[in-house]
Symmetry: C2
Subunit: 141 residues, 2 copies
DNA sequence: TATAGAGGTTCCAGCGGGTGGAAGGTCAAT
DNA sequence: ATTGACCTTCCACCCGCTGGAACCTCTATA
């Protein structure tokens, strides 16, 4: 099938599918007209990628997962390790976002939000806050 | 002061400070030797940026915040709106991450994690899961 | 005064993960 | 024969920096 159909079946935009080929995640054949021809196996790979990406795995992790997938002798513990690492990463992000939210919420609550110029949010950003919110902000990597 | 000192005082790397100049967020003077010279006001702006970025505002939002900061007649409601928008955005992200985590955790739990090849994570990614986890995964934008 | 080292400058390239658009080739239906 | 949908390649851009090369300038010491 052509790229359009592969796109429909995988829910990946054609551009993305071509990009995945460029970075050697998938290698469809070519028809005599130069069109890419996707086998069911290719579509399968693409769907695998679509899911893994949707789960937050990076491209490189996806590459690893694919190779594990294709390795009949791989240990399922390898895959589990990758998954639990990812879970921890997600947990870290959630924590970071929660702390950010707290800070912003505290600021917003102190802001009367009318059409007068006094604004504790701005004051805090400018480093002249009189609201009791501490800002030892670590850079959001 | 030179860029190194400005860097120390703002906790922003020199590269970042130069970048902020390139995108016109700050405009230090130049000494006769071509070195950038940062006034206290510049450092103040940079610190403002450092905090706003740390709170998850994008560069463009920072630009807006700065202009609001410098507008004596701005309405504090404008700033509050920006902050509450950001809070909602953070909330959305947290929700998305939580659902991701749930999915991954369910998979990892079903994975025995030994050195035998059966692996429900891989099976699920490959779309042949027999674990009861549903995957109408929306692409993580 | 020569020199070393720390700091400054510019410019170019790359990260991840695509996305947009232009210019052109191909196919099926009218 | 023409339209329009689909396909191709290529190049540039998004964000927010970051790394590195090549070079300039300042200060301290031998």
């Amino acid at each position: 099938m052509n790229i359009g159909q592969a796109s429909e079946r995988t829910k990946l935009p054609p551009k993305t599918i071509r990009y995945y080929e460029e970075i050697a995640l998938v290698a469809p054949e070519r028809g005599p007209n130069g069109y890419r021809r996707y086998s069911d196996k290719d579509v399968h790979r693409l769907r695998f990628l679509q899911r893994a990406r949707g789960l937050g795995f990076t491209i490189e992790e996806c590459r690893l997962l694919l190779s594990l997938y294709e390795d009949q002798h791989r240990a399922s513990s390898d895959v589990k390790a990758l998954a639990t690492d990812k879970i921890q990463e997600i947990d870290r992000k959630i924590k970071e976002l929660n702390s950010l939210k707290k800070t912003l919420a505290a600021l917003a609550q102190n802001c009367h939000g009318d059409d007068k110029p006094d604004c504790p949010i701005i004051d805090d950003l400018a480093g002249m806050a009189d609201v009791p919110v501490s800002f030892a902000q670590k850079s959001a990597k």
